[in-house]
């Protein structure tokens, strides 16, 4: 998303520099999943539609199949009952879980999370962490999480400590 960096960035052995906006959009669509501190669902759509949108955008499968995939993600995260609700009817934790389901729809190479639990209470944080853990351990999903939550950080497989934009402990 951000093109203002030094050095080279490689995703799936593809160099990102020099790609135009459309190509970068495709990379975001296919290879990366973003989870933010705020849940950023589209309020005009139901939870299911929110999850389906990136899949429809990718356009690899017909709509019925995308819907099938989306429902699988809901099942995986144990939130099937939320599928038909409008996103503004969901609680914070529910929204975050729907957002994670959306991330998973295109089988990304990496999931990037920015303070995924920063806006959640303890209970919901735990749920989200467990989902991440399950993804990483059962589905061998790469996750890159930025967080201020020490508890959360301790439980991850690898922790890099940064301060003011510099790595202080790899």
């Amino acid at each position: 998303m951000d093109t203002d960096y030094e050095g080279d960035l490689t995703i799936d052995s593809e160099i990102m520099r020099g790609k135009n906006e459309n190509q970068l959009a495709l990379v975001r669509n296919k290879k990366i999943g973003f989870v933010f501190q705020f849940h950023y669902l589209l309020n005009e759509f139901t939870a299911l539609e929110n999850v389906m949108l990136p899949g429809l955008k990718l356009g690899l499968f017909p709509e019925a199949e995308v819907k099938q995939h989306a429902l699988e993600q809901f099942k995986k995260l144990d939130i099937e009952k939320l599928a038909d609700k409008r996103s503004n009817q969901l609680s914070g934790g529910e929204k975050q879980r729907v957002a994670i389901a959306r991330v998973l729809i295109n089988n990304p190479a990496i999931i990037m999370c920015d303070e995924p639990t920063g806006n959640l209470d303890k209970k919901n944080s735990l749920i989200v962490f467990n989902i991440f853990k399950q993804l990483a351990e059962e589905h061998h999903q790469t996750l890159l999480v930025v967080t201020h939550d020490e508890d959360f950080a301790k439980k991850t497989h690898r922790t890099i400590v940064m301060e003011d934009g510099r790595i202080i402990r790899p």
Binding site: M1, R28, F34, L42, F45
Partner: protein
């Protein structure tokens, strides 16, 4: 495929703010309605006014003008041909008003495939005698059926039976104003005096209303044979041949051709009525300007609403981009929103414009000058509907262009980081 998705997203965004959308669409509807109604009405009026003049005017008039001969004898003599001749007091050579060989000319014209019809005419200046006073006037000798077919003569005759002129011998149709001056009613006999001081009684059978009062004060009509009789002229005496063409735009060229062919003077309608076209043009221009102004105002409405929508949906746009929608996709989404407002509003506008025109068409419009017109004239020209709908699309496209571009350029990093 991608497009369907874009339309779907656009639809959801639209419906989420349906009240604003409706206001924007109503703006377009209103302006298109007014545009259609205004143009239909204006054009109807224009046609009516043009009809007053153009329907009754020959496309080409062939006549003999009394004027000085440009080929003076001295210029034709070999001796003086190359010198410059100062000629004083050149006078009109011949005073013949009638068209030479008129019968043959009419015959040729009737065979010409470009000519829709030919109507011969005699212009006779006369005095109408009313007691001791003489009122100057003109009697036109006309071929009633040709005149009715080509120049809608019947429409301007009160009671609408101009054939009386043919059936009653020595009859006359008086201009309304002239009849009032003479205090003549139908069935009365009026006395006319020709310029050669001969008197002739004529029976009034109908009145004539041209819509131009000044004309009605001097004009009157009689059959060709009656006028020939009044003037004491033979039956081939014709002073004007009026030609109506299939294609009015050919008139200037054909007028020249006939002038050469028949060795007579010709006048085409474009030259004779140039100022008339200008009037119609200005009226049309004004209606278009008003219509376009309305559309531009509606366009600003759409622009505002889209701009607001983009500010509101900043987060949604950012997330769409983060999940893989490109700037172009976002642009298309907002263009779709703008265009569907334009399309929907425009279609409703066409419908309401048509209904409004129907209403105008029902409003009574009765004027003494136009005996055949009962309601306001409306021109249901499909061209207006075509222009209206294309204008609505173009305006909304332009109104949507800047906001959509802005939306496409939103940087998700900034939006997401800013929280």
């Amino acid at each position: 495929m991608n497009l369907r998705l874009i339309v779907r997203i656009a639809k959801s965004l639209l419906l989420a703010r349906w009240k604003q959308t409706l206001v924007a669409a109503i703006g377009v509807t209103f302006s298109i309605t007014m545009f259609i109604a205004l143009l239909s009405f204006m054009s109807g009026l224009n046609n009516l006014l043009d009809g007053l003049m153009l329907n009754r005017t020959a496309h080409i008039r062939i006549f003999n003008e009394v004027k000085p001969n440009i080929y003076q004898p001295v210029r034709m003599l070999h001796e003086f041909r190359d010198s410059y001749n100062f000629i004083r007091s050149v006078k009109a050579g011949s005073s013949r008003q009638e068209i030479y060989n008129s019968g043959a000319i009419i015959h040729v014209l009737k065979k010409d495939f470009r000519v829709r019809g030919v109507a011969p005419k005699i212009t006779a200046p006369v005095f109408f005698n009313d007691g001791a006073i003489d009122i100057t006037g003109i009697i036109y000798g006309i071929d009633v059926s040709a005149e009715s077919n080509l120049f809608h003569f019947g429409e301007y005759v009160a009671g609408c039976n101009p054939l009386d002129l043919k059936n009653v011998s020595n009859s006359i149709i008086l201009g309304e104003g002239l009849a009032t001056k003479l205090m003549a009613g139908i069935g009365d006999v009026v006395q006319v005096t020709t310029i050669t001081q001969e008197q002739f009684p004529l029976k009034v059978v109908r009145f004539f209303q041209s819509g131009v009062q000044e004309l009605d004060k001097v004009q009157s009509f009689a059959s060709i044979s009656t006028v020939q009789k009044i003037l004491g002229k033979p039956s081939d005496y014709i002073t004007d041949i009026q030609v109506k063409l299939y294609d009015i735009d050919q008139a200037p060229a054909l007028a020249k051709e006939y002038a050469n062919l028949f060795q007579a003077d010709t006048e085409d309608i474009q030259t004779a009525n140039a100022q008339f076209e200008t009037g119609s043009f200005v009226r049309t221009l004004i209606s278009y300007l008003v219509g376009i102004t309305l559309l531009i105002v509606a366009g600003f409405g759409i622009y505002n609403i889209l701009n607001m929508m983009i500010y509101e949906k900043m987060d949604s746009i950012a997330i769409l981009k983060a999940t893989g929608f490109s700037g172009r996709d976002v642009n298309r989404i907002f263009m779709t929103i703008a265009l569907s407002i334009g399309l929907f509003g425009g279609l409703m506008g066409l419908l309401f414009g048509f209904l409004f025109s129907l209403v105008i068409d029902q409003i009574p419009f009765i004027t003494a000058a136009l005996p055949t017109v009962k309601t306001y004239p409306v021109d249901y020209n499909p061209v207006f509907y075509f222009i209206g709908s294309s204008f609505s699309i173009v305006t909304t496209y332009l109104a949507g262009w800047a906001p959509a571009r802005k939306a496409s350029r939103i940087d998700p990093v900034i939006t997401i980081r800013g929280k």
